[in-house]
Symmetry: C2
Subunit: 369 residues, 2 copies
């Protein structure tokens, strides 16, 4: 039997946890010290529904770090090799954040409000500690704190329709990774076209915990005939779509180039980034390993709970798989892994040493197509 999660105040509830419980959540993980649902019906049933209908996801665990003050933009540019100079006040950017060695500390979405105010919407690490430490060490004029803001994601092919019913047809025009304000009752929330699926959708940044349930209920009322359901980031869908997971597929041991994020490391502004010198060298030499899709053939595999070694035809260890799932769409196991340069060519045959024995694997592009 799978062990239960012992929930305490330390594994923080979200503004939506009561509704998530009522919706019959069966599994959780802990993400930024907060509850993140992982399964409602079954991972496969959740996946099938997500691709057809619309789901509401409690992703409050994408905690925000607010950076406020005259040095805010300078500080955000120090965090990432991505050039932020031409970023508009209605834009979100996916930004690799690296340390002085070019190692990944997080891969958040930066939400720019204006030059003096940003939200950094986090993957799973206490990046606020890094940002605060840097700001203090460099004596920058900024306040850095976690505001009471909890993202709620609306994902799936019917998400446009559901959002339009509540917030008007204009919302359909919102472009990818752009944000705007929406009114809800007496409140105004930031909403972006974004989310951790490739089905399309929105993330509403719900301000003030007390507003959570009211918004949740309004979405379910408006979406009843759309077959709206409670959902969550889906392991199968995100692997098929090539969406990386910080802490799974990349860690502080990896550079953005290794993670296939080299396209976010260009531009002159990157020289202001902590770790810029190391990244420049990595750009010149090329990374030693890189993220890849892996197809795993043969028998069912157990969940990937520890990295599975990848071994080439000569028996040499050449990387590891860190996420894997059965894909109904491709009728095989799909996986994400890091593969050494010697063996990273698409189509290359490798052995995957799963926790349930060896399987034949093949290197593929991400996303799977």
């Amino acid at each position: 039997m799978d062990p239960i999660l012992s929930i305490s105040c330390r594994t923080r509830s979200t503004p939506f946890t009561r509704r998530v419980t009522e919706a019959g959540v069966k599994g959780y993980t802990v993400y930024n010290h907060m509850l993140l649902p992982t399964v409602f019906d079954s991972v496969v049933a959740d996946y099938v529904h997500l691709k057809k209908h619309v789901q509401v996801w409690d992703v409050a665990c994408e905690r925000q770090v607010e950076i406020k003050g005259p040095d805010a933009s300078k500080l955000v540019q120090m965090l990432t090799p991505r050039n932020l100079q031409n970023m508009g006040e209605d834009q979100c950017y996916y930004i690799p954040v690296v340390d002085e060695n070019g190692g990944m500390l997080n891969d958040p979405v930066a939400v720019k409000h204006n030059d003096n105010r940003w939200w950094i919407s986090l993957a799973d690490s206490d990046l606020m500690y890094w940002i605060k430490g840097l700001a203090l060490g460099r004596k920058l004029k900024v306040d850095v704190f976690e505001p009471d803001v909890s993202p709620l994601a609306i994902q799936g092919p019917k998400s446009n329709e559901l959002m339009a019913r509540l917030f008007g047809d204009d919302i359909k025009e919102l472009k990818f990774f752009r944000h705007r304000k929406i009114r809800f009752g007496d409140n105004e929330f930031t909403v972006a076209r974004s989310g951790y699926s490739v089905q399309g959708g929105f993330e509403i940044y719900v301000e003030n915990t007390k507003n959570g349930e009211q918004l949740w209920d309004a979405l379910f009322e408006a979406g009843e005939d759309l077959n709206v359901r409670a959902g969550c980031p889906n392991l199968i869908e995100r692997i098929e779509g090539g969406l990386l997971s910080y802490g799974n597929d990349m860690t502080i041991e990896n550079t953005p180039y290794e993670c296939g994020l080299g396209k976010f490391c260009k531009g002159d502004a990157a020289k202001d980034c902590i770790g810029a010198d190391v990244l420049q060298k990595e750009l010149e030499n090329g990374p030693k390993r890189q993220i890849r899709g892996i197809v795993i053939n043969g028998d069912a595999t157990p969940p990937c709970r520890d990295p599975w070694p990848l071994v080439n035809a000569e028996g040499k260890p050449v990387g590891q798989v860190t996420s894997a799932a059965w894909s109904p769409a491709f009728n095989t196991h799909v996986a994400i892994g890091m593969v050494d340069k010697s063996d990273w060519k698409i189509g290359n045959q490798l052995t995957v040493q799963t926790s349930d024995g060896d399987r034949a694997g093949e290197v593929r592009n991400l996303p799977f197509v």
Copy 2:
């Protein structure tokens, strides 16, 4: 039914996870992105056993931050208001770590190897990010990284006997919060008399993941007739003993004075601590609220998964309970909470608004006696 924990590579396994699984672990929490067992038999049965016998705890989630280099001691002193000047190379100190506002970032144990090399043994937050950010911002000559070191705790009244059987009678002489080296096979490990219980015991800092199972097995072989079992930090025992839990009983919103850790904020060296000015002001004015024991009378309460408000006789909110459990020793519910100055007097009667309704409560000292 309690939701399961969805285990992935991101919720890291430890060197002992296979043995913990074989021992029948029933519940986990996630702590520093790593699996931490919470229950084997039942929380009460685990508690009874811990107080009588000896347990081996997988506390690898107490991740280490190694600080190495000529500025190491200077940097560690910047982290904490505790005076480290006279600390010996065989000592461990419990250190509150605060930010520039005096807010708690972690409450780790600092293990001093020498002036140029420290381990910071973490509670649940990515303190390495703060330490790295500070070191970089201040241009200090240090390396800061997570070494491959995983604590294994031996706790309970028979821990002296079990340790002596494996490492010789000398180990019995090791004083509280002192550390020394022990030989195990070809390896040398640091061991301290410490641990997150008040039953007494040791923590072995196991270097190199591959050594974990061998040490685990040796302890169980040597302790069979001592009734050694796999265990874990026990909710009941740690509340009775007044052991605080970062993320539960204190957060970045609290100063060390609020957490009852004022005794660790003395000495001239504290002026080198980040946040020293704020803490000095807090010392002069006194904290506005403080950690207390709370006895909760009446019917059984559910687990404390969200802070329970405390209300005084006039109906005014005066704090919150963040940890609670039924105590067989005191035949009542024991709890830990933060209480406003107006109502923090020992013996004061308060209402505890649990998630299952109101209960009568009384303010007590910590630890409970």
